[in-house]
């Protein structure tokens, strides 16, 4: 019998399953059924697996080896609190996003009573505290730890990733406290140095050990092997594998993945993003090689309001307002007019999401002449742009939408890719590539090569 591996994504709306033949590196079956996390996750899963069984003849053996990722039950919801907004708060935010979390709040400086109540009300899965470089400020993180220690059961998991000198005092604060508190290395051990990998790992471990249990996702383990990461994390893993390659098998090099969704738009870039010109100065925090941003206000169904704000400055197709109201209610574009409206919104989402993710150049005039200052990553050299997510994949104008991710001569200060090849994740395979990369990296890479469609 062929070596078939099942890869599963528990989404908030749909549970998706991909069956991959590892010998032929081929997708042999896919299934998509409504998720049933609210009641019992195994019901939806069982249904999806039944569909796959009918098409492939796989059985329990393969199901026991299946790996899954999840963004169900709200995903991995995190709150970050650091000291200076541009420094340790931003570092914590980048660490959480890089671990596939949904950052539902980001705070700076000493937390106030009102803020801590706000955090408690949001009941995040994890609170991440940063603050101070190693040997630097201790007051803020100690204050914030003490505020968090006094909260109720709404906050049960806390990760401390700040000034190491403050850790002893923080341990004392949490002694005899029922919260699960984990200590990891500082996300910003010194100024200009971002060290998010240990914190990423801690977040993911916590997700696997505790959080899927609390959300009822772990029940799936009665059927499959494990739920190993949040879905965005799987996509980021895939992006890294596709960029870097594995062993002797070269990758695509630096790249961007844009995942346009109903509620949010994720952008992942795998690139150092160093300045194209050697005389450019980098300002601010050096961003990570693997960077993920989430535009929580850019979605094509749930977050249309913000998009409509942006549309105001542009010319809109006929009946725009009425048609958009339909999208709000979950209607999919059918007629020519509806499609034109949807296309406009999709293009705008793409343009804004990538512009926010990419770095920018600022020209500073001084007595010594012009100086170029770069904030964030320079992505102009990138040769691979991959689009995924329903609004892009199912559109009849995929190329047009993806082209909105590119550099524009009329706004040359935003450092977006100038001349990349464009790809579409036609089979919704990126999450599966990310999951498979954890066990069969080489095959996962070949799977991506085979199914990413150049347009």
């Amino acid at each position: 019998m062929d070596d078939i591996r099942l890869l599963i994504d528990f989404g908030s709306t749909f549970t998706k399953v991909v069956a991959v033949d590892l010998d032929k590196v081929e997708v042999v079956a896919t299934a998509r059924v409504p998720s049933t996390v609210e009641s019992d996750i195994t019901v939806g899963l069982g249904e999806a697996l039944k569909k796959i069984e009918e098409n492939t003849g796989i059985g329990d053996l393969e199901e026991r080896e299946a790996l899954a990722c999840s963004s169900a039950a709200g995903g991995l919801r995190m709150v970050c609190a650091g000291f200076v907004p541009e420094l340790t708060s931003k570092a914590a935010n980048l660490a959480a996003l890089g671990a596939g979390a949904k950052v539902i709040g980001c705070y700076s400086h000493k937390l106030t009573q009102q803020e801590i109540e706000e955090i408690e009300a949001a009941s995040p899965d994890i609170v991440l505290l940063s603050g101070g470089t190693d040997g630097g400020d201790e007051q803020v993180i100690i204050h914030n730890a003490s505020m968090v220690s006094r909260t109720g059961r709404a906050i049960s998991n806390v990760i401390i990733a700040g000034n190491k000198t403050a850790c002893d005092e923080i341990r004392a604060i949490f002694r005899d406290n029922s919260k699960n508190v984990l200590y990891t290395s500082n996300v910003m051990p010194e100024i200009g140095v971002l060290d998010v990998a240990p914190c990423n790992k801690e977040i993911r471990d916590l997700f696997m050990r505790n959080i899927i249990e609390a959300k009822g996702i772990a029940r799936a383990k009665a059927i499959i092997k494990d739920v190993i990461m949040p879905t965005p994390s799987a996509v980021l893993e895939a992006a890294r594998l596709i960029a870097d390659g594995y062993g002797d098998a070269g990758g695509f090099g630096d790249l961007i993945v844009i995942d346009v969704g109903g509620a949010t738009t994720d952008v992942h870039s795998i690139a150092q993003g160093k300045p194209a010109r050697p005389d450019t100065i980098i300002a601010g925090l050096h961003e990570p090689y693997e960077k993920r941003t989430v535009e929580g206000d850019l979605g094509l169904r749930y977050n249309l309001d913000r998009l409509l704000e942006l549309v105001k400055e542009r010319e809109t197709p006929p009946n725009f307002d009425a048609i958009v109201k339909g999208f709000h209610e979950g209607k999919l574009p059918q007629t020519g007019e509806e499609k034109a409206c949807h296309l406009l919104l999709s293009c705008l989402t793409m343009e804004v999401a990538v512009s926010r993710h990419a770095g920018r150049i600022e020209v500073v005039y001084g007595p010594t002449g012009e100086t170029l200052v770069q904030h964030g990553k320079d992505l102009t050299h990138i040769k691979t742009v991959i689009g995924t997510g329903g609004p892009v994949v199912f559109s009849g104008n995929r190329r047009e939408i993806l082209e909105h991710a590119l550099f524009r001569e009329d706004n040359p200060f935003v450092l977006k890719p100038r001349d990349p090849d464009l790809y579409i994740d036609e089979q919704y395979i990126l999450y599966a590539v990310g999951l498979l990369s954890q066990v069969e990296p080489e095959k996962a890479l070949n799977l991506a090569r085979k199914y990413l469609k150049r347009i």
Binding site: F83, V84, E86, L87, T88, G131, G132, T133, G135, G136, D137, E138, Q139, M188, E190, I191, I281, A283, V364, Y365, G366, P367, T368, T371, V373
Partner: protein
């Protein structure tokens, strides 16, 4: 013994003359200080952010291009706002354009919040030994 004081160095504004601040950083390190070297073209806001995050005891700024006064116009207000009113502030270099009398310039920078103001060609080792260590001791930071 207390831990070594943390000192931030860098050139302010869009000044790209980086040699002076490198010499200063080296001398501070040799003298046993913990140095956060920001290099060239550091904005006043960045000095403040970094001072907060590193809980720094002093900033030693350099400026050679004569625009420091303009660059630092509201620096004192901003750093007080940021809770850094007690931090030592030194500046040195070519602080105004052309030849100038350091005695005339010093009060202008003292007004901007600087504890000590140095003309070009100052001996940094002497400054560290005579001024910096003394000032830090007075503030109980050493």
């Amino acid at each position: 013994m207390k831990k070594a004081p943390t000192i931030i160095t860098g050139t302010v504004g869009v000044d790209a003359h980086v040699i002076g601040t490198k010499v200063v950083s080296r001398a501070l390190r040799d003298a046993g200080f913990n140095v956060v070297e920001l290099g060239m073209q550091v904005s006043p806001e960045e000095f403040i952010n970094v001072a907060q995050e590193t809980n720094a005891d002093a900033i030693l700024m350099s400026s050679l291009y004569g625009m420091a006064e303009l660059d630092l116009k509201e620096f004192n207000e901003k750093r007080r706002e940021a809770g850094l009113g007690d931090m030592l502030l030194y500046i040195g270099g070519n602080l105004v354009i052309g030849r100038y009398d350091p005695k005339e310039v010093e009060p202008r920078f003292k007004k901007l919040g600087f504890d000590r103001v140095y003309p070009p060609e100052t001996d940094i080792v002497a400054v560290i030994d005579s001024d910096l260590k003394k000032d830090l001791k007075t503030k109980g930071k050493m």
